[in-house]
């Protein structure tokens, strides 16, 4: 039965059941629930446990053809929702809004840039588009601190192939050496890789650029792209707030 909460600004009218939940890295969870609606890959939902609490927004990480909604999220120990969300198990219920948001992408050529769990909307889009289109038109640059935080790395490598770059800012020497033998791994900050790519001409004006992550990253990367001559009209940003 539909229920309503307007506290978040988005009506959490669906009571959905948790199918599974896994801690895929320290403090990072992947939650799967019933799927009560269709959505556009890249869209968000509002989640809450109870009607009287303010819902929080998360990008959908699952593909459009999947039978479950997948949510990738960081546990925020002082947060109002995620500590309780992280304790949910199979069969538990939570409240979910209709999908919303316009951070969506089609089969046009695009460069996706994300940090941490900001990978979620790109994961959803990559899982939803025809695999040939993803491999042909998308480039993904993902920044994280440690190797374990490149979520769904193997799946994304299969989809995006050689144009998937992982920038690991805190990998130690052994990890860096091991990974550097494979293509698409960079031991350093995402912005360092971007500056190099701009200098080499790997990144230039033409495609649309999609940025997703914390505000500081989005602003810094956007400034970097603009200073490299990429029109701001071609840069779309989704900030986690």
């Amino acid at each position: 039965m539909p229920e309503s909460s307007h506290e978040s600004g988005k009506e959490t009218r669906y009571r959905v059941r948790v199918e599974s939940q896994e801690e895929i890295a320290d403090g990072v969870f992947y939650l799967k629930t019933d799927r009560p609606f269709d959505f556009l890959p890249g869209q968000c939902v509002a989640l809450a446990i109870r009607q009287d609490e303010q819902a929080r927004y998360y990008s959908i990480a699952s593909g459009r053809s999947e039978t479950r909604i997948g949510i990738l999220y960081d546990l925020v120990p002082e947060g109002k929702l995620t500590p309780e969300l992280a304790r949910l198990g199979s069969g538990d219920e939570l409240l979910m809004s209709d999908p919303f948001g316009s951070f969506v992408d089609g089969e046009e050529v695009a460069v996706w840039i994300a940090t941490g769990t900001g990978i979620a909307p790109f994961l959803s889009i990559a899982r939803s588009l025809p695999s040939t289109a993803v491999a042909r038109t998308k480039m993904l640059i993902h920044g994280s601190r440690t190797l374990e935080r490149f979520y769904f790395r193997e799946e994304l490598r299969d989809l995006i192939q050689e144009r998937f770059v992982c920038c690991c800012s805190q990998c130690d020497g052994n990890e860096a050496d091991a990974q550097a033998r494979g293509s698409g791994f960079y031991a350093g900050r995402l912005t360092e890789w971007l500056r190099g790519a701009v200098a080499e001409g790997t990144l230039a004006a033409g495609p649309r650029y999609f940025l997703c992550g914390a505000a500081g990253m989005v602003v810094e990367v956007r400034d970097l792209l603009i200073s490299a001559g990429i029109p701001f009209e071609d840069i779309l940003s989704e900030i986690y707030f």
């Binding site: 303010q54 701001f232 707030f241």
Partner: protein, 351 residues
């Protein structure tokens, strides 16, 4: 660690007096000393018994901070820089700004509500700091309380660093203290809160206080606004306007739209028509703002002629429109410029 007295509401002061087993009326006495008599020490609160003051002093402190720096403009605007240690996420000092803007018949104080900002608007200097923390109600109010020109201030605007409705609890608490009889006793009509359009925050703000609301528009077109303001992905302008249209606001409560005019970008005939269509049936005004350029921006200021032409076109559509005066340009008046320069280093970014 001692707790702060300044910034507490009457209800919180009652909890405090209960906790210390002081008479119930002591809560109002405390509020009076804090917000009407502007006490700086607990010892000044002489109508409280000496034993009560001593007890209070063992557990509480005032925590009212003076500005760390002031810059004075030739036009009379003064910008104050305040430390925000409570909001710091690192050992580096963090700062927020408050701008005092005197005019012939009024004096406005522009308050900050966050250290940095999460919203990432393309035209904003504060966003370049990233988000570094929320201010408490006490830190918001301190910008007013410790202002040397406090008694000259006629209007308060929450338009400094940060998005006020992304820090809604302390912002509402500060407004409660400013507008209550037991607090500063200020009319809500002298307060304006500016937002980029956080819908749940607007809903709560409209329901819980009587202050004016200003919404940053900057473009009436969805695609263009998305590129200027990422928040458009989540809270589209049309949904913000629908909410305002549905809200039954009293006539004395003002809604305004802030509109920075960027040269060659957002002041065409098409923009005028779309603004008029969007705002049809809403009692509001538009404030046109000159863009003060910031480093690494692809945006440009509009010329005076473009500003005036745009103003006239909007007026011709029946929209009450004014061009805001630019103030304090010689002291880095654009929001966030002063504190950004004061940062020892940017927020610890690691990705």
């Amino acid at each position: 660690m001692k707790r702060a007295l300044f910034g507490l509401t009457l209800s919180q002061l009652r909890d405090l007096t209960d906790e210390l087993e002081l008479p119930a009326y002591a809560a109002k006495q405390l509020a009076h000393w804090l917000y009407r008599k502007h006490a700086r020490t607990i010892d000044e609160m002489t109508n409280l018994p000496a034993a009560a003051r001593e007890l209070l002093s063992t557990r509480f402190e005032m925590r009212i901070a003076t500005p760390a720096k002031v810059s004075a403009s030739s036009d009379g605007t003064r910008k104050y820089l305040y430390g925000a240690e409570g909001a710091s996420r690192s050992s580096s000092p963090r700062y927020v700004e408050a701008a005092y803007i005197p005019e012939s018949r009024r004096a406005t104080l522009c308050l900050s509500t966050q250290v940095g900002c999460k919203m990432g608007c393309l035209f904003c200097m504060t966003g370049k700091q990233g988000f570094q923390g929320q201010l408490t109600a006490a830190e918001i109010l301190n910008q007013y309380e410790s202002l040397p020109e406090r008694d000259l201030v006629t209007n308060l605007v929450y338009m400094g660093m940060g998005e006020p409705l992304d820090n809604i609890d302390p912002v509402m608490q500060s407004i409660e203290i400013l507008t209550s009889d037991w607090g500063y006793g200020m009319s809500p009509g002298r307060i304006t809160v500016s937002t980029i359009g956080i819908i749940p925050g607007i809903r709560r703000f409209l329901n819980e206080c009587g202050a004016h609301l200003a919404v940053s528009m900057h473009s009436p077109f969805e695609e263009e606004r998305r590129r200027l303001m990422p928040v458009q992905h989540v809270y589209p302008l049309r949904e913000v306007i629908e909410l305002l249209r549905e809200s039954d606001l009293p006539r004395q409560r003002r809604v305004s739209f802030e509109y920075i005019v960027f040269g060659g970008l957002n002041h065409s005939d098409a923009h005028v028509k779309e603004i008029a269509r969007l705002l049809s049936g809403i009692r509001c005004r538009i404030n046109l703002i000159r863009f003060h350029t910031i480093p690494d921006t692809p945006l440009h200021p509009a010329s005076d002629e473009q500003m005036v032409a745009f103003e006239n076109q909007l007026k011709a559509k029946g929209i009450l429109t004014t061009i805001r005066k630019s103030r304090g340009q010689d002291i880095l008046a654009a929001c966030g410029l002063l504190s950004t320069r004061e940062l020892v280093k940017p927020a610890a970014l690691d990705y």
